[in-house]
């Protein structure tokens, strides 16, 4: 039985403008989807954690070939810091001895000199009291120069002064505290 189309080919039922809009929208969507997919793929490959981890592993592998250098540079840096710490705490005793000898007046001689970390015990002897007085004055002048930047002497204590009737010599024991 043959079908007879009674409607026939009449005018189009849709709007051509809407079709064009739909086509443009489809192409735009397709383009956007493609662009986003490619962009995301690129970002994920370039900046993903896995990619960075891979690069880290590469660098670590390269670094591991310098094992000896790592050990040596670590020790060198540690030693530098340790030696600096030790030297920072060192006291220049020679400078101190030179200073004491420098301010020692004529006629006064050192009998004993004992230098420890924080202080100096000094015994001097002379046939006259005058050089002893000069020496004390010099020490006080030296201690007056004491400052944070230039630590000299923080305290001078005369522990004893004695005289010998046999020899006629005087001897004095002084305690000098260093800052």
């Amino acid at each position: 039985m043959n079908e007879i189309n009674l409607v026939g080919l009449g005018p189009k039922k849709y709007d051509e403008k809407k079709l064009r809009l739909a086509r443009i929208a489809a192409i735009t969507a397709l383009f956007l989807t493609g662009f986003l997919s490619v962009g995301l793929f690129f970002l994920n490959t370039r900046f993903s954690i896995a990619s960075i981890k891979r690069q880290q592993t590469d660098v670590i592998n390269q670094i591991s070939s310098y094992d000896e250098r790592i050990a040596k540079i670590t020790i060198v840096n540690a030693r530098v810091s340790e030696i600096r710490q030790i030297r920072k705490q060192n006291i220049d005793y020679t400078k101190f001895i030179q200073t004491i000898l420098g301010i020692l007046p004529e006629g006064l001689s050192i009998s004993t000199l004992e230098i420890e970390e924080k202080g100096v015990g000094l015994s001097v002897s002379s046939s006259s009291l005058l050089p002893m007085s000069d020496f004390i004055n010099e020490l006080l002048r030296f201690s007056a120069e004491n400052s944070k930047d230039n630590p000299t002497v923080s305290k001078v204590t005369i522990e004893s002064i004695s005289g010998s009737s046999n020899t006629g010599d005087f001897s004095m024991t002084v305690r000098i505290d260093m800052p």
């Binding site: 995301l40 790592i70 600096r84 004992e114």
Partner: protein, 236 residues
């Protein structure tokens, strides 16, 4: 107001044939939407949320690259010399030979006569405790010589390796007694991790190394024995 729409197969066929050109664009838009919702959006979310971790890992990577660069720039020869010099200046263990060399050298240079000396050795086998920041060997030393000679001895000793510290000086008519401390320190444990930063020797470190290079090293420079003077005296 419920209007019933009656769609039968014939109506659908008619609609399909009437709006056939719309099918492809609509199907494309729908597919794109589906791809966007199912793949792109979750991926983008994941990418954005992982950026904090990515930045941390990037910092690690940069540190590693920096470390590699530092290591590549180091010269084996120079580093080896610095390592040996500093290890001699502050030995990893008690080095009696170096200490005796240093004392003999300083005595010879300054012209003082070394008397008895005592080593407060401590335990030879035990390694120093971690808590003891700078272990040292204490030496009590008797010197024969005046103030000037002692001063010269101390000056030479302070510029001789290994490094030492004078903790006590007792000058008397019978001679001089010195209390010295020679330091040593075991090497630190070298552990490299991806978070470690390897620094080249700092400029202060280089200054210190060049200063130590000028120090006398009795193992390298032979001890002066005043052979000429002795020969002249014996000739006389």
């Amino acid at each position: 107001m419920n209007k019933k729409i009656n769609i039968d197969l014939l109506t659908l066929k008619t609609l399909l044939s009437d709006y056939k050109p719309f099918l492809t664009p609509l199907f494309t838009i729908f597919s794109c939407l589906l791809v966007f919702l199912v793949f792109i959006l979750p991926q983008a979310n994941e990418f954005l949320s992982s950026q904090k971790t990515v930045n941390e890992e990037k910092t690690k990577l940069n540190n590693l690259r920096g470390n590699l660069q530092t290591l590549q720039n180091l010269s084996d020869g120079e580093l080896g010399n610095q390592y040996e010099l500093l290890s001699y200046a502050l030995p990893p263990e008690k080095n009696f030979e170096a200490i005796i060399n240093s004392l003999s050298y300083s005595a010879n240079v300054s012209g003082v006569i070394l008397g008895d000396f005592d080593f407060a050795v401590g335990s030879i086998t035990d390694s120093p405790k971690e808590t003891q920041s700078f272990p040292f060997l204490k030496i009590e030393l008797n010197l024969a010589g005046g103030v000037g000679a002692v001063e010269s001895f101390l000056d030479t000793l302070s510029k001789t390796l290994p490094i030492s510290r004078v903790s006590k000086i007792a000058l008397g008519p019978s001679g001089t007694t010195l209390e010295l401390a020679f330091f040593y320190k075991p090497y630190p444990e070298v552990q490299f991790s991806e978070n470690s930063i390897i620094n080249p020797v700092s400029s202060e470190g280089k200054d210190l190394i060049s200063e130590l290079e000028d120090f006398s090293n009795p193992t390298e420079s032979p001890i002066p024995l005043f052979t000429e003077e002795v020969a002249t005296e014996s000739a006389l």
